[in-house]
């Protein structure tokens, strides 16, 4: 329910993410955009698995496939993957047991659980078993991609960063101050957290559902596009009086904050 999203067009407008090593204004490589990820897809439905492999490839990532739990587990333990996509129902070894054994081996690769079971309890069970994110089938590919990229970034060390910057927009996590071009921007607490999450994933697409889950901690369907209004209010504060817009809407997927064309 929480994950049905509002995506209309899964790939249209999505930028192709290639490791072209573009640098942002601070001369630092913008990891989110350039990072090519190795993804392991453990999914018994071959059609779905092939679709995911092809789509991820189109977005500049590489993907290996495993069609049952045992094969998936040994691949996951051997290969150095950035993200694992694990279907919950798998032959030979079910998804949750696979994740448990993986975590008990000390493997810390982020896991996205895919499941046809979308009940409130199932999500909690999945995350308790050691999953890092949970996506209910049927999902929009754009939702999956955004989540996979967010998870892949998670292992990067900038989690501890105290200062985020995109272009001339700077968010200081210690003083909770936001400035653009040196000008102080006053934000409501929720707007601040919204911006913080967007900037933490700068260069990546963040879906509305991801915002709802991480900024509000809600895992339900808000029925209408409530998030859009919040984002447009934030946009009015950070982009309105400046030449170059930083907060972009990615059609059919969500939002992204980046210095450059959307």
């Amino acid at each position: 329910m929480a994950n049905s999203g509002s995506s209309v067009n899964p790939t249209a407008g999505l930028p192709r993410r290639l490791g072209d090593g573009r640098l942002n204004s601070e001369g630092r490589e913008d990891e989110g955009r350039t990072h090519t990820m190795r993804v392991l897809v453990i999914e018994d439905d071959k059609e779905t698995a092939l679709f995911l492999q092809k789509s991820l490839k189109e977005n500049g990532h590489t993907a290996d496939l495993a069609h049952d739990g045992e094969a998936g587990l040994s691949l996951a333990l051997d290969g150095a993957y950035d993200v694992l996509i694990v279907d919950r129902m798998l032959p030979r070894l079910d998804g949750l047991s696979l994740i448990k054994s993986l975590k008990s081996e000390g493997n810390r690769t982020p896991v996205l659980i895919l499941s046809a079971l979308g009940e409130v309890d199932d999500r909690v069970k999945g995350l308790r078993a050691g999953g890092d994110d949970y996506l209910t089938k049927p999902y929009a590919y754009s939702e999956l991609l955004a989540r996979v990229e967010a998870l892949g970034r998670r292992t990067a060390p900038e989690e501890q960063q105290t200062r985020y910057s995109v272009g001339d927009l700077v968010l200081d996590r210690l003083s909770h101050r936001v400035t653009r071009g040196g000008e102080h921007i006053l934000l409501q607490p929720r707007e601040y957290r919204l911006l913080e999450y967007l900037m933490q994933h700068a260069g990546q697409v963040v879906t509305r559902t991801m915002l709802l889950e991480h900024v509000w901690d809600y895992h339900f369907d808000p029925q209408t596009n409530v998030i859009d209004v919040h984002v447009s209010r934030l946009r009015a504060k950070i982009d309105k009086n400046f030449d170059k817009p930083l907060l972009h809407t990615v059609r059919g997927a969500g939002y992204t904050i980046r210095d450059g064309p959307a």
């Binding site: 067009n9 409130v120 809600y218 895992h219 029925q223 409530v226 209004v229």
Partner: protein, 481 residues
């Protein structure tokens, strides 16, 4: 006749009959022991008495022998033998020839034993049946042999009568007991037959059937009542299911058809690629709508199946309601509503936070959707408070409201009032709210907001938790979460 036999055989093969037959058997056995013991004791007492009398008489006769000699003894025995009494005598000399008395011979039973005992003899006068008697030998110490006895035929007849009466009694008891057992088992078999017949009809699909009760309140009635309650629940669930499948047929087929039409129309469109793209976008849009409806349906079904333990949390209801409302307030303002949030502080509850959030979201979304914004007085009020110790959430608007007659109905799945058919929505919003309420042992009330509609989501008082400090101790594992 065979039908009757069949019924008897059926009753006799029941557990109830077996048990009553066993009870009767035990009773008869116990009675036989008691009666047998009494009979034996009485008999013994009586025989002892006769023997005592005979011993006393023997003493008198032997003293007479000592005093008056053989002549006197013969005279006395002859005299005693004469009246038609119960006394029996036999006096013989050393060779065994009879001298006096009213017995013909020494009874062989006594001859063998050489001491007193019971024997039967043929009375001198007549050739009737032999009588039973008790006799003892008297030692005269002179070579003479004297046997004295008493005829106890009357006692024997009496004892026989008693034995007959007892046997007859036992017979009557057994028959009555078995008949009683049969009757009891007939009763039980009848009740069981009714229950079996009812359950067979239910199995065949008539879920509205109930097991008949007598209203007397026995354990079978209690059983029937709880079975009936179970059936009530099953019928409710089945009706719910039937309703859902009817509605799925109705409400999902239409959008599915639209989805198909969109795809077909795009294929036929001569514009080519652009048309395909548009068509695919429309198809995905329609698929998303379908998924939404489907998810809502599945969630409601899941909520009705029982509690969700894994995702139950303890939280501050007021804060949460304010939080969710805050999510909607920009959207509400944009739609022209003043969203007022009024929450009571310190109402801590244990419940499913995400589902309650979904319910609040549905209610606020409905309020925005079904009442007109942008007019003076276009206000939506969200409240969290307590009524009679029960946590409650209410969302009130000043829209058109819902007629009293329709209020019950709109809580059902897929019910959309005519006036709102044109608005987007699955028709599942309020039924999901109702399902969330039921999950928390509560209910949904639709009230007149004068004007407008006020929906109250009332949770059970069981969800309420006194204070957050206390709850940390009361709920194990919470700190670990």
């Amino acid at each position: 006749m065979t039908a009757l036999l069949d019924r008897v055989a059926k009753a006799a093969s029941t557990t109830a009959f077996g048990l009553s037959a066993l009870a009767v058997a035990f009773f008869l056995f116990a009675a036989a022991i008691v009666v047998g013991f009494l009979f034996w004791q009485t008999n013994k007492l009586f025989t002892d008495q006769v023997l005592a009398t005979l011993t006393a008489e023997a003493r008198i006769l032997s003293s007479e022998m000592k005093v008056g000699g053989q002549v006197k003894l013969v005279e006395t025995v002859t005299a005693l033998s004469r009246p038609q009494g119960t006394g029996l005598y036999y006096l013989a000399d050393g060779t065994g020839a009879k001298i006096a008395g009213n017995l013909n011979r020494i009874p062989p039973e006594l001859e063998a034993q050489g001491r007193g005992g019971v024997f039967s003899y043929q009375p001198l006068n007549g050739d009737g049946p032999s009588h039973l008697a008790v006799a003892i030998p008297v030692d005269l110490g002179t070579g003479l042999r004297l046997i004295i006895g008493r005829d106890v035929e009357d006692q024997r007849v009496f004892a026989n009568t008693i034995r007959f009466v007892f046997l007859l009694g036992f017979g009557i008891l057994s028959v009555i007991g078995l008949l009683g057992g049969l009757a009891v088992s007939r009763l039980i078999v009848n009740r069981m037959d009714q229950i079996t017949a009812a359950s067979r009809q239910i199995m065949e699909g008539d879920l509205s059937r109930r097991i008949p009760t007598t209203g007397r309140g026995g354990e079978l009635d209690a059983l029937a009542n709880s079975l009936n309650e179970m059936l009530e629940r099953i019928e409710g669930l089945m009706n719910g299911l039937r309703e859902v499948s009817d509605n799925i047929a109705h409400d999902l087929k239409t959008p599915l058809n639209r989805l198909r039409n969109a795809a077909e129309a795009a294929l036929r469109d001569p514009r080519g690629e652009d048309a395909y793209r548009e068509g695919l976008e429309r198809t995905i849009e329609k698929a998303d709508e379908l998924i939404k409806t489907f998810n809502a349906l599945l969630l409601i079904a899941r909520l009705e199946a029982g509690p969700l333990e894994e995702s139950t949390e303890t939280f501050d209801l007021g804060r949460f309601v304010a939080d969710v409302s805050e999510l909607y307030s920009p959207a509400a303002e944009e739609a022209g509503f003043a969203l007022t949030i009024d929450v009571e502080q310190g109402v801590f509850i244990r419940g499913n936070r995400q589902l309650i959030g979904q319910a609040i979201a549905n209610l606020i979304d409905n309020a925005i959707k079904y009442s007109r914004g942008g007019e003076p007085g276009s206000a939506i009020t969200v409240r969290a408070y307590r009524i009679d110790g029960r946590p409650a959430i209410s969302v009130g608007d000043h829209g058109p409201g819902i007629e009293k007659a329709d209020r019950e109905r709109v809580l059902k799945r897929f019910v959309r009032l005519e006036a709102s058919r044109t608005k987007p929505g699955t028709g599942l919003g309020l039924s999901l709210v109702a399902a969330v309420a039921r999950l928390h042992h509560g209910e949904v009330r639709l009230e007149d907001n004068q004007p407008g509609l006020k929906v109250v989501l009332l949770l059970s008082s069981r969800c309420l938790i006194a204070a957050p400090e206390q709850m940390r101790d009361d709920v194990p594992g919470l700190a670990a979460q």
